[in-house]
Every structure is written in C-alpha cells, then in structure tokens.
Subunit: 286 residues, 2 copies
C-alpha cells in the first residue's frame, strides 16, 4: 500500500482551505499554547486564544470525515496565580460550531520537569480533548489493549461457585459479573488516563510531544490507508509516526525551518518504507 505524506508550508487557517471536505480520518494536534512559542506564532494572548482558534476549528470540522475524530492536546496556563479559562471557553464555543465533546483523556507526564513554586506543584498532566462530528465514529479499541494487571494471576487461579455464574452485586450498584469469562484473557481495555514519559531528545522543537502519543491515537482511531492531519505540524512527530504506520498524512506548518526539517524526515521514512516493501516482496516471491 502506498501512503502519501503531504506537508504544506503556510498559515494553518489559509492552507486548510486547500483540503477537501470530509477527507480526514483523524486530526491530532498540539497547537501553540497561549503565550508560548512566541517566536513562531507571535504568542497568542490567553484572552484572545479562543477567538484565534475558532476559525481553525471551523476549518477542521469541515475537512474531517463524519466518522472521524479530532484530538486536541492543550493545557491552560497560569495567569497571575490563576488557571486561565480559555480551554473551557474554547470547548463551549466549539460545541456551538457543531463539535461534540466526546471525551477528555488525561496525559500523565510521568517525568515532568522538577521544580518548585511557592503556591503550586509541578504540573504533571495535560488534557487530550476528543471531539467528534457525530455520536458514531470509528474506534478500534482492540488495537490499544494493555496487559491485565497482576491481580489476575492469583485471582483467576481458583474460581468459586459465584464466580462461574452471573453474580449480581447486593449493594444495588447494578454491577453483575461472570468471572469465568475472563479465564483466557491476558489483556484488558485501557482507561482514559495515559501514562507516557515525555521525550527530551527532541530539543529542536519547544513543544514536541512523545511519539507514543500520536501513535496511540492513530492506532485507536484509524486503519492503514486512512488519512491523518496535523495543522500545527511543528517538528512533525505526528506526520512521521503516521507515515511509519502506513497512514496518509497531511501537515501544515508556518515556520520554514520546521518545514524543512520535516521534509527531510519524510524522505527518510519513505526510504525506510520502500526497503521494507522490497524485503516483503522478495520473501513473497520465494
């Protein structure tokens, strides 16, 4: 399967217009947070953030397939001792545009930077807001299953009588179970809390997220041959991962410097995928 990696240099709001309606399966992005990445985006002030983002989210709504998903990585910053409310306001406004706010994943940054402030602790989490166009969307949950916890080893060794039948909880929680159903399982579905370490080796980009983050969402919401968009491409993590996972990708970036960097990355991945295919086809012909 051939996959394309299409990267575009320019302002995200303008360049989105070049993308067809209902053509994207997944949008994963980490836009510049308010007042950060000043050098490249001019530093959007927290008070103007919603206003600035709404035209973009409208464009994203247009290009996303009805069964597609939009994952937005964002965190409000502290302004004069208080958490700013632009993220909450943004969610409320995006709902008015027609977005459904389906879920909020928490990205727990296990190795966040050490530090100390007199009135707060280190900030070790970020929001991953999931938006959809409709209640029914594509989700491939089996792709991201995790190993069952240690409890299972001992718990499932010996099953009592009540374990083998559906045993309704007495406290009226409405929770019944049949433990014997779990015997041959070694994997469980994950939760909406993601534990991933941040990568520090990507020093060229001030807001890079770890590869595993886009990877997880690409697995969960797309299949091979689907199309992934990152309208704030930055150093291109999402694009690179998507390409390696044989998803088509589209990236938009305003900074020529990043744009050039990603261009080279893409070529490298293309070469890698090419090699892989050769090996595959050689084996097949044997």
């Amino acid at each position: 399967m051939e996959v394309s990696a299409n990267i575009i240099l320019g302002d995200c709001n303008e360049k989105l217009k070049e993308i067809e309606d209902n053509s994207i399966d997944l949008i994963v992005t980490s836009p510049p947070y308010a007042d950060s990445r000043k050098s490249t985006y001019g530093g959007i002030s927290p008070d103007k953030y919603v206003e600035w983002f709404l035209p973009i989210s409208r464009g994203l709504l247009r290009v996303l397939k009805p069964t597609g998903t939009f994952v937005l990585n964002i965190k409000e910053k502290v302004v004069s001792g208080e958490r700013h409310t632009y993220v909450m306001r943004l969610i409320l406004e995006m709902q008015k545009q027609g977005w459904l706010w389906t879920e909020e994943f928490i990205w727990h940054k296990k190795n966040c930077y050490p530090g100390k402030w007199s009135n707060r602790f280190r900030d070790a989490w970020e929001r991953l807001l999931q938006f959809n166009k409709q209640k029914k969307f594509n989700m491939y949950q089996e792709e991201v299953m995790v190993p069952t916890g240690d409890w299972a080893k001992t718990r499932l060794k010996n099953l009592s009588e009540t374990d083998k039948i559906r045993d309704t909880s007495r406290a009226g929680s409405g929770f019944g179970k049949n433990i014997s159903n779990w015997l041959d399982r070694d994997k469980a579905y994950p939760t909406n809390v993601l534990h991933l370490a941040t990568e520090c080796n990507n020093k060229n980009h001030s807001a890079a997220f770890p590869k595993v983050l886009p990877e997880w969402f690409i697995k969960l919401f797309t299949r091979e041959g689907d199309t992934v968009l990152d309208p704030f491409m930055g150093s291109g993590t999402t694009i690179e991962v998507a390409q390696k996972m044989r998803r088509n990708s589209v990236g938009i970036e305003i900074s020529p410097e990043y744009f050039g960097m990603v261009k080279n990355k893409i070529k490298a991945v293309e070469y890698y995928l090419c090699k892989e295919r050769e090996i595959y086809e050689t084996n097949k012909s044997k």
Copy 2:
C-alpha cells in the same frame, strides 16, 4: 491541644448560615455528582447542577478565611454520548462570585469502574479543583513531600548530563543550572496528579473518599488547630481524618442515617486521642 468536631444535621445551604464569616481554613468536599446518590440528595439533573451549587459556593466563600482553600472533588458525567459541561460552567460562574480557580489536581483512580463500550474507555480520573479567595494562601508544601522513587534518581542522573551542558539562557527555564541540586535529595515535591484507589469496601457509603485524599489536602493546607469544613459530610471521612490530625472540624449532612454514623465515629476518635494524650503525658512525667 483540644480539637472540636462539630457535626450538623440538615441542609447544607441552610446550615452554612450558622457558620461565622472567615472562620474556616480548609474546605474539602465531594458534593453529590449530577444524577447520582438519588436516595439522599434527590439526584440533581446535569442541566440544573450549576444553579443548584452556586448558592452553596457563595456560602462557602463567606465562611472561608482569606488565606484558606476550597478543594472540590467533582466529575462530569456522560449525557447522550457527550461529556456534559456543567463542571466547566460551574468554574466560570464561581469566578464571577469572586473565587480564584488556582489549580486543578487530577485524582487518578487506579481501580476505576469496569465496563466496555463501543465509543469510550473506562473513566479513571476525577477533578480536584482548588479555589482560593486571594492569590496568597496558606500552603505547607514540605508536609507532603514524597520519597524520591528510583525513576527519579536515574532520570535525574541522565538529565544532568545534558542539562549541565545546556546553556541556561537558551533553555530560559533556569532548570539547567539548578538540576544538580536535585541529585542528593531523597525527597521531592509531589506533582498535581494523585494516584489513589477508591475504597470500595466502605459498606456505609457508595462513594467514600479514600482517607488519604482529605489527609493529603489537610496536611498541605492546614496546621494543627486549624479548622476544616466538609459541607457534604457523607460517611464522614474528612471529619474523621481531620480530627485524628488534630484539626478542628465542621461537617454538615442532610441524611440522619449518615449523621448518626459519624457521631459514633467522632466519639471513637475522641477516645483514641484521649488515650494518646494519656500515654504522652505519662511518658513526659517519667
């Protein structure tokens, strides 16, 4: 030091009026979530939730000391496939009342409710919203320091190599310079993510806090002899913990059943504290 545990039977909104202005150092509470605990609270509908809570938060603002803190445990439920927005709306409205939304801690519930759905995963986190009356509030960070885990040791060692080289001015964060200070410490400040399991063996209450949760905030925001309020006392975890930690406590509860239960608990703790003092004094006289 004598501490008082004062519990009040009745509607929280009414009974708050009996509490003096600026008399409380810390409010820790977990109000009934929308549509839950119907038997005791009648189940507030998600659409009416903000309206229902605002008079209460106004009362809490009045009784809290200027240097005090309000910790609100809450989570929005799913309504027709979407996360409801009442929590966000509540924060915005509370700001209008004069509350500062200082911080949001994440409570990661390690043993969250099981289940499987086609469009979402298990919900494993709740919000712990921190509100204050002013930018300067009491916070005793040293009280909640945690032992440095192995990951931190190795992590910081690895970091140190790159960070020693790193030009502090380029990084702009100032960490590069100070990172070596962290290497010899065996205790670190925690982050704003708390990993705790719910106590599902509490037969008396379907939604009891784990004891460590109020304990952590009581340590962090109060000293011995301070006063802690829980306007939705429930099975009385907050009050019990506060009392044991030699903080004065005030609890309000609408259900006579819970009220009676907590009354007994309080007596037990009083007895326990008495014994402890006796032992202490006996040792002293020796």
